[in-house]
């Protein structure tokens, strides 16, 4: 095909005529007129693979579905980017993905909390020694600046996953510790609670009952210590040290990408039912960690972005597909470690991963606001 630089291809997208140079993808052509097409396995700068099927649009002229990320706009195409039929196919693909997806978008404790506090996030911030952020997370998610824990029956603790192992986390004490810290430090005043309409209405993937061996996956990274009760007057609550030790018992049951996950966002947008195509048996949840990188294979949608990134950036080891068909998995060749596989590209891979499959766990603990601001009690 002779390429004439001045040549312009005209097609229509949702009825609007669009002129683009030859070779332009439908996705790019649509963006020139401000039409958004959802994607998951696409990232600008990488070769499109058309693997995830979420960007399927319809070419009415040929009456076929085509992947917008990879298909090029051709003269005479009449593209529709969204209608009931297209929504149905996208929803189908998403529902299939969820039939093979194991994870909890939100932790059981948070789902039980009547105030909707993002408990694992608050706890994570505590473990990270970032009390200021812990205060923010608490007040923002609770949607109010008043302490709801003081009058609560601790429903969260009844739901806490750690309870199945030894004893639930002492969530109430931990949250109250942060509340009081927020009030005393004045940080609480600078936080705007999120409007309640923003909370609680999102799609939630849940694992259901745990399978054999799954609790152990969660326990791998938590402190093995037993539940800590405040040594002083219970009314006075935890000391700094106690709070921190108790916080490190948390299993981090929620998904690290709950807010940014594109799979979840699309599930919201397409009204996905998690169990539309129930599997005969769901896979076993795994959590693999190495130097701050968390990989949860059962959340991977095999989009291939991480593989393409490690390959493109010439990682010595990199990530690769292992196996084929339903059993295909993303893994590190030769049983290497995650951090070796992504020696220079970890941040890029985690950022590109559309789901919570690749994420950063707690960064290395750094002495910061906890000690600096915590003149409270020792």
């Amino acid at each position: 095909m002779p390429m004439n630089r001045k040549e312009i291809i005209t097609c229509t997208i949702n009825g609007n005529p669009v002129g683009v140079p030859p070779g332009t993808t439908i996705l790019d052509a649509a963006s020139t007129i401000g039409v958004f097409i959802p994607t998951m396995c696409f990232q600008a700068g990488l070769e499109p693979t058309a693997a995830c099927r979420i960007c399927l649009v319809k070419d009415e002229a040929a009456n076929t579905f085509v992947p917008a990320c990879a298909a090029r706009a051709e003269a005479g195409m009449r593209v529709t980017t969204e209608n009931d039929d297209i929504r149905r196919v996208r929803k189908f693909t998403l529902e299939l993905l969820f039939s093979d997806h194991v994870g909890d978008c939100e932790a059981p404790c948070r789902l039980a909390c009547r105030a909707g506090i993002d408990i694992p996030l608050v706890i994570r911030r505590m473990v990270e020694s970032d009390l200021e952020q812990a205060v923010h997370a608490l007040i923002e998610s609770a949607g109010s600046a008043d302490d709801p824990c003081s009058t609560c029956e601790s429903e969260c603790e009844k739901a806490c996953r750690r309870g199945r192992h030894d004893a639930p986390l002492s969530i109430r004490h931990l949250m109250r510790y942060v509340w009081e810290f927020g009030v005393e430090s004045g940080w609480a005043d600078s936080v705007t609670p999120r409007a309640s309409s923003e909370r609680g209405k999102r799609f939630r993937c849940s694992m259901g009952g745990l399978k054999k061996g799954e609790l152990e996956e969660f326990l791998k990274d938590a402190s093995p210590a037993g539940r800590i009760e405040p040594a002083r007057e219970p009314a006075e609550g935890y000391s700094n040290l106690e709070a921190r030790s108790e916080a490190s018992r948390c299993l981090q049951c929620d998904c690290r990408k709950a807010q940014t996950c594109r799979l979840r966002r699309h599930a919201d947008g397409y009204g996905v039912r998690q169990r539309a195509y129930p599997p005969e048996e769901r896979s076993r949840f795994r959590r693999i960690r190495h130097h701050g990188i968390v990989y949860e294979p059962e959340k991977c949608i095999k989009c291939g972005l991480c593989v393409a990134i490690t390959e493109g950036k010439r990682e010595a080891l990199g990530l690769t597909y292992i196996g084929r068909g339903f059993d295909v998995e993303i893994g590190v060749p030769f049983d290497g470690t995650l951090s070796a596989a992504m020696a220079t590209t970890a941040a890029e891979c985690v950022g590109a991963c559309p789901t919570g499959a690749l994420a950063f766990g707690q960064p290395f603990e750094t002495p910061c606001s906890w000690e600096a601001a915590g003149q409270r009690r020792l």
Binding site: A51, R53, F65, P67, T93, Y277, P279, G304, Y321, G325
Partner: protein
């Protein structure tokens, strides 16, 4: 050249490669000459060692005669041909996956367009055709296109090789002009089914094809008629089924094959075929229900629509066609019965009072499910029985019967 013949029971390409290597190489050379290509690749599955050996020998002889290599027959035209052995993945029969495999990367299909003719091997324009196609080229050049077009039907020209297998008296490779009816192939060429059996259907086109019932046996074999019936020519596998074959079991057989051979790139095929397989397995095990039929149909349709490559787009065909023509069998399975008495979980063996107590069945039963009671009527412990059928075969008085487990 695409010689990655992967359909179960298909061996047309193998026969051509083993028996007529020169014809294929001649066709390939002519095609290269027409296009001005300087290199050719024969992609042959490694499971065909004899085909590879014979092609190698043929290439070596052609080189010594200057029919391949530099300046063929003293002309400007040079062609370098090499063999690449396929690693045994069915999906590498898909042309873009095949090209990836030749390049040494994972054999996963990519989206078309661009078609290989525009951007193929190593990013260069590539002509890729099947063994049979190249093998036809020399004949066409020698006899002229009109002679070839005179064979077959108006829209499907020429001849087609089928691998006729299954419940026919004379199986094997057959070559027929397009437009021949299925009945002619099965009855006249294949000699029909065994005496006492009833011809039920043919599965045409391998795991991507579909099932055509005996009632439609007068369908002519051409691309359009087969597509209309929900099947396809595919590589040319033709499995004849009789009344002892269960259609649900058959659909499961082919689906299991494609599910295991899916490359895993796109969710509709990777996960969809798995879910389809689970539902079929449920039905064959007697754990299904009528709702499963609706699920099968819905999943099949959407997997076809949403999959990336031909493998996923055609994988549900055996399910859809059997559902279309043999829905009653599916309904029977949903109720826990296998009309063909094929699905092991839905049938049981039992011994009637014709039994004379010879103990042969008890001696031969591999599962120890029959207690030895000389001169008495024997009985089968259904929970221990593995449904191997041995007892029925060895019983000298035909006292062993197959019956429905649920409603005897």
């Amino acid at each position: 050249m695409n010689g990655d013949e992967g359909d179960p029971g298909a061996f047309m390409d193998r026969m051509i490669l083993e028996s007529h290597p020169y014809r294929v190489l001649e066709g390939l050379t002519i095609a290269a000459f027409a296009l001005g290509a300087r290199s050719g690749v024969l992609y042959i599955r490694a499971e065909y060692p004899l085909a590879i050996e014979r092609m190698r020998a043929a290439m070596a002889r052609m080189k010594t005669k200057n029919l391949l290599g530099e300046n063929i027959l003293g002309t400007e035209f040079s062609l370098d041909v090499r063999i690449v052995e396929g690693g045994g993945a069915f999906v590498c029969g898909e042309e873009t996956a095949l090209l990836a495999s030749v390049e040494g990367v994972r054999g996963m299909p990519r989206v078309r367009p661009p078609f290989p003719a525009e951007r193929g091997l190593w990013g260069r324009p590539t002509l890729i055709n099947n063994v049979e196609t190249y093998a036809c080229v020399p004949w066409i050049l020698r006899h002229g296109a009109a002679a070839f077009a005179a064979l077959g039907t108006r829209r499907s020209k020429g001849m087609k090789v089928f691998s006729l297998v299954g419940k026919v008296l004379r199986g094997g490779l057959v070559e027929v002009p397009m437009g021949t009816t299925l009945r002619e192939v099965v009855e006249r060429i294949g000699g029909g089914v065994a005496p006492g059996r009833v011809f039920k259907a043919v599965q045409i086109g391998g795991p991507s094809g579909g099932c055509i019932p005996a009632a439609l046996a007068d369908t002519p074999i051409d691309y359009e008629s087969l597509a209309e019936a929900g099947a396809m020519m595919g590589s040319g596998g033709l499995v004849v089924l009789d009344d002892s074959d269960c259609m649900v079991d058959m659909a499961l057989y082919f689906l299991r094959f494609t599910q295991e051979e899916s490359c895993g790139k796109c969710p509709p095929c990777r996960i969809g075929t798995k879910r389809l397989r689970e539902i079929l397995e449920r039905l064959c095990a007697g754990r299904g229900g009528l709702a499963d039929l609706v699920r099968l149909e819905d999943l099949s349709q959407q997997v076809k629509e949403a999959s990336l490559c031909g493998l996923g787009k055609t994988a549900p065909n055996p399910v859809l066609t059997t559902l279309r023509y043999f829905r009653d069998e599916y309904e029977a399975h949903a109720a826990g019965r296998c009309p063909a008495k094929k699905c092991a979980a839905l049938v049981r063996y039992s011994i009637s009072d014709a039994c004379m107590g010879c103990t042969i069945c008890a001696q031969r039963c591999p599962a120890g499910a029959i207690e030895m009671r000389p001169y008495e009527q024997h009985a089968i412990d259904s929970s221990a029985c593995v449904r191997c059928g041995t007892c029925r075969e060895v019983c000298p008085v035909a006292a062993v019967h197959l019956e429905d487990l649920r409603c005897p």
